[in-house]
Each structure stands twice: as structure tokens, then as C-alpha cells.
Amino acid sequence: MIAIIDYDAGNLTSVARALSHIGFQCVVTNNIKEIERAERIVFPGVGAAGSAMDSLKRLSLDFAIKKAFADGKPVLGICLGTQIIMGHSQENDTSCLGIINGEVRAFPSEMKAEDGSSLKIPHMGWNRISIRNNHPVLSGVRETDEFYFVHGFYPAPADAAHVIAETDYGISFASVVGFKNIIATQFHLEKSGKPGLALLKNFCEWEPF
């Protein structure tokens, strides 16, 4: 069973629907016991880092996620979940879970495209990823595959070894981060068509150790 962490942060059912579609059982839950029983954890989220951390603490889910990671269970972060596993976020100056060292930063406000036009923030739409460190969850990704992003902040791991893939949008940022049994995407793999579902399936079959 896969547990999708429920902490009042956005549309969690979309991840559940995607998992069901590819044939994996899951439960959307904030119940600590249920999370402990689960074999895999998905940590999604849409919204702001500050209120997300408040909700996680109120529900004691911060410990539950850290424990799942310490226990060696495969953990998948998505979008805001990916930012929350980092050490600190510039958004609302928030202390986060610190599973991966590094900061979550805002995109610079005056980024220009090659033609001189201003790049819009948030980074919203389809973009590519370039793999920096091979990872089983990214196996099968084609160079032309694109993924759906919606975000104004991005994770910046302190250690380059934790940058699994990068995406360019004005700057080059880590769009997939990973460390031991955690892998986390800044994009919404549940909304990225078949290439996204393929990564989700890879995660469901991933044996990190």
C-alpha cells in the first residue's frame, strides 16, 4: 500500500487517481499508524511553504515523514512536497524538514528569455529535464519528454550529488532531487501525461536498497 500524505495542501486526489490508473493501491491519509504501515510514501502538495509546515506540525506528520525516510521506505516528493523536504525555504522564511540539505529559493524577479522578453513567474507549463545523476526512477525518460510545472520557488540542494535532473527557465534549477530512498520532482508527474505516469510507475517499483 502507498500512503499519500494528506495535510490540507491542494489537490491530493489527482495523485491518487494517477496511481490507481497505473494499477497501484493507495490511500490518502493523515493517520500516523496508516503511514507507518505503508510500504511507500507520496508527499505531494500545492500552496505556500509556511502554512504547509504549520499543518504538518499540527498533525505530527513532519515526524511521520522523517521516520518513513529513516526506516528506508521509498518516499516521493511532488512540487511543494519537494520543497518541504529541503532544509529551509525562502517562502515565508520557513524551516523545513531537512531531509535533503539546501535551500528553496524564489526565481529572480527580472529574468529574460533569449529574445529579450520577460519570463513570467510562476514557471507554469511544460518544460524538459536534463538528467545530471542517473536514477532508476528516471529511467526511460526521452530527451524530448516534457513535464508540467507550476511553481515560483525551486529547490537548491547544497550537494550537487543530490541534483538528479535540472530544468532551464531563466536559470538552471534542480527539477528532480534525490538522496538515498527519497526522490522528489518539482513538476507534477501526475499531470505530465504518459512520461509522468512512467516515472510514477518507476517509483512504485523502485527498490532503493
Binding site: N11, R17, E114, S118, K120, H123, M124, G125, S130, S192
Partner: protein, 284 residues
């Protein structure tokens, strides 16, 4: 030989390198089929060459998902409010079928309507005439669900420039029958300030003509706001999409009849755009 950026360019950057750079650093322009739905049925089915007509919005969504649509827009044109639950059921079934973002507009009057559609699985909701009548619905939606969920739909007609309508483009509702005395450019800026995450800009003048998008209007709005603009109304050929994405500076283009009636496939449209140097999503 190494070339340092500080020393200035020693030679012209080859075109291939420029294209590579563009491909790496740009978001793809989105191609978005639009489906009008009345009481759970699409009003224009997909007509294939063998004349099979699919009228089920869920099946049409699946078809376009498989065909490479980057997003799908549904407009619920059900007249009777009592029958609006039918649309919620459609949204729920679409969400189980396609795994790309989709938005729902039409008949959304308040935050409860928005919540129902989002909980059913839509990524975004689009407000149009309800926002003209009560702009507070935009900020309420943005506060409750996040700006990324709120699309401001604008129906616009060209009028003479005047003190009241300095841009020469006026907001209309009721399919263009009612002029609201609001300048389209001012309304777009206001919508952004209120928290809209995106604008779907529909030219009533171009809508249904298949003669091309309203380029001046699209460029005017796109270059004035910081949020993405989806151009709507007038698409008939891939060239029309190229013009609105390149000259019109739109971030996305809405298409309807040109694909519903089988004149073009999304692959054909994207291949053309790609050949013209517009970055599009090529594999799915």
C-alpha cells in the same frame, strides 16, 4: 580554443546552437483544444474522415490527450442550473481518464462552484461574466485555492477608442450581446491584481470565423500583464497559431473546429509550429 564571454563574441553563434539554446530555455507554447459541453454532451463532436461522431466529452478528452493536447478546456453551456451536477460528473470521469491539466468554465458563480469543480479533479476553473459582475470572485478563488487555479476568461469586442475605452477593446458578456463599458486592457490588469493566474482572451469578433486570431488584441494584453495569456477565437490553420504565438506573444492557443472537424491533427499543428521555430511539446 576557448572563448570567454567577457571578451565579446568572436564569431556569429551558429543557428543550430541558437535553436538548441531556445529549446533548452523556453517553456513550450501550449496547444489547447476547447470542448463546449451542454448537459453532459459536447455540442460539436469530433468528426473523423469516416464520419463517426463522438459526442461524449470524456471520450473526446481521451482522444485529445492521446493526440498530444497540452491541456484541455471545457465550457459548460448548460442553461439550467439544476442540471449542472451533470458537469461535475463529467469532470470526475475526465479526471480519471486524462493525466494532463484541464480547466472548466461556464456557469461558475461563486467559491462553492469553484470548489465543486476542483474537488472533482479539474486543475483550474475559469470565470468570465461572473467576474465582470463581481470581481471579488477572482480574489476569493485565488485566496481559497491559489492563483494557479483561477483563469480569468475575457470576451472582448473591438470598438472605437474613446475616453471610456482607451484601448478600443471592450468587455462583453452574453456571447457578445451585452457591452459592459469596461476597457479590456484595464480589466486584464485588474484581473491580474485581484489574483487571476492566467487569462483566456477570447475575441468575439474573430470567434467562429476561422480567419485567424485577433493579433493586435492578443499582443496588447500579453505584453501588458505578467500572467500567461491563452489566445482564443479565430483559429483555422496552423499558420494562425504561429502568428498568435509569435506576433501575438500568446503563451497558449485555444483551438476548436479546426481539430474537431478533422481538418488538422494536433501533431500536424505542432510539426508546423516546430518548423517555424516555436517551441512545442513533441513527445507524449
Amino acid at each position: 580554443m576557448s572563448v570567454s564571454y567577457e571578451s565579446g563574441l568572436l564569431y556569429e553563434i551558429p543557428v543550430a546552437v541558437k535553436i538548441l539554446f531556445r529549446e533548452r530555455t523556453m517553456l513550450s507554447k501550449r496547444i489547447i483544444p476547447c470542448l463546449d459541453v451542454r448537459e453532459g454532451k459536447t455540442t460539436k463532436g469530433i468528426k473523423f474522415k469516416d464520419n463517426v461522431d463522438i459526442g461524449d466529452p470524456v471520450e473526446m478528452a481521451r482522444f485529445y490527450y492521446e493526440a498530444g493536447a497540452d491541456e484541455i478546456v471545457f465550457y459548460d453551456i448548460t442553461a439550467s442550473h439544476e442540471k449542472r451536477d451533470i458537469m461535475i460528473d463529467v469532470v470526475r470521469r475526465v479526471a480519471k481518464t486524462i493525466f494532463i491539466p484541464f480547466s472548466v468554465g461556464g456557469g461558475i458563480r461563486n467559491a462553492d462552484d469553484m470548489r465543486a469543480v476542483l474537488l472533482a479533479g479539474a486543475e483550474k476553473i475559469s470565470v468570465n461574466s461572473a467576474a465582470v459582475k463581481d470581481p471579488g470572485i477572482i480574489s476569493e478563488g485565488a485566496r481559497s485555492f491559489g492563483s494557479q487555479c483561477v483563469v480569468l476568461g475575457m470576451d472582448v469586442k473591438q470598438v472605437g477608442k474613446s475616453e471610456k475605452i482607451p484601448s478600443g477593446y471592450e468587455i462583453v458578456i452574453n456571447g457578445g450581446r451585452t457591452y459592459m463599458g469596461i476597457d479590456a486592457l484595464e480589466w486584464a490588469m485588474k484581473g491580474q491584481d485581484l489574483g487571476a493566474g492566467e487569462i483566456c482572451l477570447n475575441s468575439i469578433d474573430a470567434d467562429g470565423t476561422q480567419d485567424g486570431y485577433e493579433l493586435n488584441l492578443t499582443a496588447l494584453i500579453s505584453q501588458s500583464v505578467d500572467i500567461p495569456v491563452i489566445a482564443s477565437g479565430g483559429a483555422g490553420t496552423p499558420e494562425h497559431l504561429f502568428h498568435v504565438l509569435a506576433e501575438g506573444k500568446a503563451d497558449a492557443a485555444l483551438i476548436a473546429s479546426m481539430v474537431h472537424y478533422g481538418d488538422y491533427t494536433i501533431t500536424e499543428i505542432k510539426s508546423y509550429l516546430d518548423s517555424q521555430g516555436v517551441k512545442v511539446r513533441k513527445t507524449w
